[in-house]
């Protein structure tokens, strides 16, 4: 399996993503510079967290129009799995590969803490190593993470099974108190229609090492390796 991590100027979780990918794949991913119009042959493309181009405009808005994204969009449309984490999720929505937008947190503040997520389905390339409705712990670290889409879109996402993760209590209950940022219907991550593109605000790559306090995140990368190998 070959993976590529796209590096925008201002990406700052690219190394973290590469470390988790290497741990799961047994070899390092290719790091692709934002100015490159060509992507190496990839079974998986990862858009990492960070502040692409500084994100002084809407988060992800500039990155969505970078040269490398034209190629990412083509590959995604052709079925190559794409994973967008945090800023990567914002870029995917700005690029139109995923529905909805990420708005400023309801608290209007940056939030860095562990949250609990319910895995909504386990029959995708990203989640097969999780148990059905498993509750996992990932950290979040964002200021613009409040998922928004209109009611009709939200209904369709739920109807089509495109909701990937929801913020929840430790026992899996979906409550307002468990929602850290005001996301509609506690949505933390969504798939595209074919469930080959996943975007999520929490960082699976940050709890992928027992020595650092948790391994819930590594299962996502192991799922991808098993599916794509």
């Amino acid at each position: 399996m070959k993976a590529s991590v796209v590096v925008f100027p201002g990406s700052n979780c690219d190394r973290d993503a590469a470390v988790a990918l290497e741990a799961a794949m047994g070899r390092p991913p290719a790091m692709v510079w934002h100015g490159d119009a060509e992507l190496p042959k990839s079974d998986l493309i990862v858009l990492p967290g960070g502040f692409s181009y500084g994100d002084y405009l809407r988060s992800g808005a500039m990155a969505a129009h970078s040269p490398v994204m034209r190629e990412v969009i083509k590959r995604a449309q052709a079925g190559t799995p794409v994973l967008g984490i945090c800023n990567g999720f914002q870029v995917l929505t700005e690029a139109g590969l995923l529905p909805g937008v990420l708005m400023r947190n309801a608290t209007l503040k940056f939030i860095c803490k562990d949250v609990h997520l319910r895995v909504e389905r386990t029959d995708t390339a990203f989640t097969r190593h999780y148990a059905k409705r498993e509750v996992v712990r990932f950290p979040i670290a964002h200021k613009d993470g409040s998922y928004f889409a209109d009611e009709a879109t939200l209904d369709r996402l739920e109807g089509e099974g495109q909701v990937a993760f929801r913020y929840c209590e430790t026992d899996g209950r979906i409550t307002a108190a468990a929602n850290p940022n005001g996301s509609r219907r506690n949505i933390a991550g969504v798939y595209n229609e074919t469930r080959t593109v996943l975007g999520l605000m929490p960082h699976p790559e940050r709890l992928a090492d027992a020595a650092l306090g948790g391994t819930d995140g590594i299962k996502m990368f192991l799922s991808l390796v098993e599916t794509l190998n």
Partner: protein, 743 residues
């Protein structure tokens, strides 16, 4: 025409008002005239004023800073460079420094704090290190003061905004409140980086005729005279100084980091200096002065973002995210390509010269021609008069009548502004990015893994300003001792510190006395604990309308853990473990949080620090951690024993049943006294005899004080304190206050 020729023709004249506006006193101006042999141009006056400002020249403190111990076998670079450097083995070095951005953060809290973080990060990566962590020490005014909420909100957002976007975890720090910081809050930012010992870069230029290269963002009119502002007291008009505050761009800084590290790896760099306070002036002068060389700058080549900037403005601008380098001439093209790739400005703006002159040309004229050594390392030094602080009486604990039950006092202390949970603050900092954070904020010290491990670094910032005010010498000692203790409490061997000395107006003997006393205390403790000072910063004139801040010498410490998986944390680990107090308790009440928060008295002598007991107890605790004898460890500091136990319980959700004090102590002295050199540990019951034997051999007094149990704290003769309720109080104060409620 040269400046000398124009001066001879009387092309300009400098009035007394102009000199005063530049913050130079009459003596200093006379010295300037003597050095120059003529009247300076306005640009030259500007250059002198910033280089001889307190902020850049350390003219009031330099004499006393010499007392600090700065060497140890592991020290690679002590004070005087952009940051200190220590070796940690395996060919790796830790580069770190703490610096203040107090005045800007009061005037414009978000940008002031953000650029404080940006500046200290630049200091670290200028030396060739990749930043791996940030910490900070923040002091705000009385919560009831009308501006405090706004300042906390802006400063915290600014610290987070810069570090989060730049991509470095902010892993630790401290936040305090006191009315003496009304109108003069303190923002001290610390950065820690990792480099290879044989790839450290320095500021001293070498070689004549070498190209001087300007890198990074363009120069604008922001921050002009920031260094002079930071060297004056505040009055009612301080807010009109907003234009002197710089604006930060963490995105540019991240690009600058990557580009700098890339050209350093390609071996292009002879010398490098970041443009911080006093911008282009200070960086160019320091490079030349340290290398015993002259510097010629051609300002027509400097990238600017505003039109018609004068030489004066360009030389004094403090626009952020800029660097000056001396490059190897044959590597110029390679370096330029790297900078262009990162989309940053790159311009050759001058060269090194053999004549030790600092020459600035602009638009065909010579705007400055000054002796570089006098500007740089030969700036004025003052031995200012200083008077010792009056000795305060020792308070007998038996003379204090507890005004409320101890359980109530604990609740009140844990929900007081200084002792409440600072979660509201550190959740706004990305403390996990880079994927190496082993111990997150909230413990004694943060622990960050070094590369893939097994080594780990512990880091913390500490000072107890009320102790320093009451007794500068003991307070200075205590700040170092507490830093050392916090590192020891996670199992690290403390290696070195950076000091950030924040004081009032040094021209007042009693303030100068505080500075001198604290430095003596710091020096004494650093010597006794083999804990050298490798970098630092002095911030004076922290006064508004004649009232000074509490003397606040923030100490940032770094320690090494051989295997990060062995680091200890404060959380209780299991029920039915023994809770043991290490160190001697006398029930010291003077300047304690109990006396202040519960009895409403800020009085008395602060606890003395016995440095040999400190060392004995710390070394003992560290050995217990490394041999996995103890399961949880917490140092004792503000609030004393009961606050420490409550924090250990709250961190775990496991409660404790506590025994009463020995007969010779008062109850409040036992529970809330702030005697130094103490720790609380937990052990499995089977280890009790072993611990007793070892403690006796080590000469460390121990006392069993309880067992972990249930989900509440119980003290003899007191109501039970349920942890859930206690947690609500402890976690609740700051969010409620910031939402506009409690104060």
């Amino acid at each position: 025409m040269t400046v000398a020729a124009r001066a001879a023709k009387g092309a300009h004249s400098i009035t007394d008002e102009t000199v005063a506006e530049h913050g130079l006193n009459a003596d200093e101006y006379r010295r300037l005239l003597k050095e120059l042999g003529r009247e300076p141009s306005l640009t030259e006056l500007g250059i002198f004023s910033v280089m001889w400002s307190e902020h850049c020249s350390y003219k009031s403190s330099r004499l006393h800073l010499k007392k600090l111990p700065t060497t140890a076998p592991w020290v690679i670079q002590g004070p005087g460079e952009n940051a200190g450097v220590i070796a940690i083995g395996d060919g790796l070095a830790v580069v770190f420094k703490m610096e203040s951005h107090n005045h800007p953060s009061y005037i414009e809290p978000y940008q002031g704090a953000a650029t404080g973080v940006g500046g200290i990060l630049r200091d670290v990566f200028t030396m060739g290190a990749r930043p791996i962590a940030c910490l900070n020490a923040l002091s705000f005014g009385d919560p009831k003061h009308p501006k405090t909420r706004h300042l906390v909100s802006g400063v915290v957002a600014g610290v987070g905004g810069y570090g989060n976007s730049f991509g470095v975890p902010t892993v630790g720090g401290s936040v305090r409140f006191h009315t003496r910081y009304d109108g003069n809050n303190l923002v001290n930012a610390m950065a820690v980086g990792l480099a290879e010992t044989d790839k450290i870069f320095y500021a001293a230029a070498s070689g004549v005729g070498m190209p001087i290269v300007y890198l990074g963002s363009k120069t604008g009119r922001d921050g002009i005279h920031g260094a002079s502002m930071a060297s004056a007291e505040f009055g009612e008009d301080s807010e009109s100084k907003r234009p002197t505050v710089q604006v930060g761009d963490p995105f540019s800084e991240k690009l600058l980091l990557e580009a700098c590290l890339e050209i350093m790896a390609k071996d292009c760099v002879i010398a490098i200096q970041d443009m911080g306070a006093a911008g282009l002036t200070c960086s160019a002068v320091e490079m030349g002065a340290k290398g015993d060389l002259g510097v010629r700058l051609d300002l027509d080549k400097v990238p600017t973002r505003e039109t018609a900037m004068t030489a004066y403005e360009m030389m004094l601008s403090e626009s952020q995210e800029r660097m000056l380098m001396v490059l190897k001439p044959e590597k110029e093209k390679e370096a330029e390509d790297i900078f262009r790739k990162w989309g940053l400005d790159f311009a050759i703006v001058g060269e090194t010269t053999p004549d030790k002159r600092f020459v600035v040309r602009h638009a065909g004229s010579e705007m400055a021609n000054l002796p570089i050594k006098e500007l740089g390392d030969e700036a004025p030094v003052y031995d200012r008069p200083h008077s010792a602080s009056p000795r305060l009486p020792v308070i007998d604990p038996a003379s204090i009548e507890p005004p409320m039950p101890h359980a109530d006092a604990l609740e009140k202390l844990l929900s007081s502004p200084d002792l409440c949970s600072k979660r509201w603050v550190w959740e706004q900092y990305d403390h996990l990015i880079l994927g190496n954070t082993v111990q997150r904020p909230g413990g004694d010290a943060a622990v960050v893994r070094v590369k893939e491990g097994p080594k780990g670094l512990a880091m913390t910032t500490d000072v107890t300003p009320r102790y320093c005010e009451a007794d500068p010498f003991e307070g200075g000692k205590q700040a170092v001792a507490e830093t050392w203790r916090n590192l020891s409490a996670v199992g690290a061997k403390p290696l070195a510190v950076t000091d950030n000395l924040n004081f009032g107006n040094p021209e007042r003997p009693e303030i100068m006395g505080q500075l001198v006393g604290c430095i003596q205390g710091i020096a004494t403790a650093c010597k006794a604990l083999e804990f050298p000072v490798v970098s630092g910063n002095v911030s004076l004139y922290n006064e508004t309308n004649g009232r000074a801040i509490l003397p606040t010498p923030s100490i940032g410490g770094v320690g090494l853990i051989d295997d990060f998986t062995n680091s200890a944390s404060i959380a209780f680990k299991a029920a039915d473990e023994l809770i043991v107090l290490l160190g001697e308790t006398k029930g010291w009440m003077g300047q304690s949080m109990y006396l202040r928060e519960i009895c409403g008295r800020e009085e008395g002598a602060p606890p003395p620090v016995d440095l040999s007991a400190e060392r004995r107890t710390g070394d003992f605790v560290r050995a217990l951690i490394n041999e996995k004898v103890v399961t949880a460890v917490h140092d004792l500091s503000d609030g004393g024993l009961l606050v420490a136990i409550a924090e250990m319980a709250l961190a775990s959700g496991i409660g404790a049943k506590l025994y009463g004090p020995p007969a010779f102590l008062t109850e409040h002295g036992f529970w809330f006294g702030e005697d130094q050199a103490r720790y609380v540990v937990t052990i499995k019951p089977a280890q009790a005899d072993d611990l007793a034997v070892r403690a006796k051999a080590a000469g460390v007094p121990i006392r069993r004080i309880g067992v972990t149990h249930g989900a509440a704290l119980t003290l003899p003769g007191e109501r039970e304190l349920l942890l859930n309720a206690l947690r609500e109080r402890h976690e609740g104060w700051l969010p409620a206050y910031m939402a506009g409620g409690a104060s």
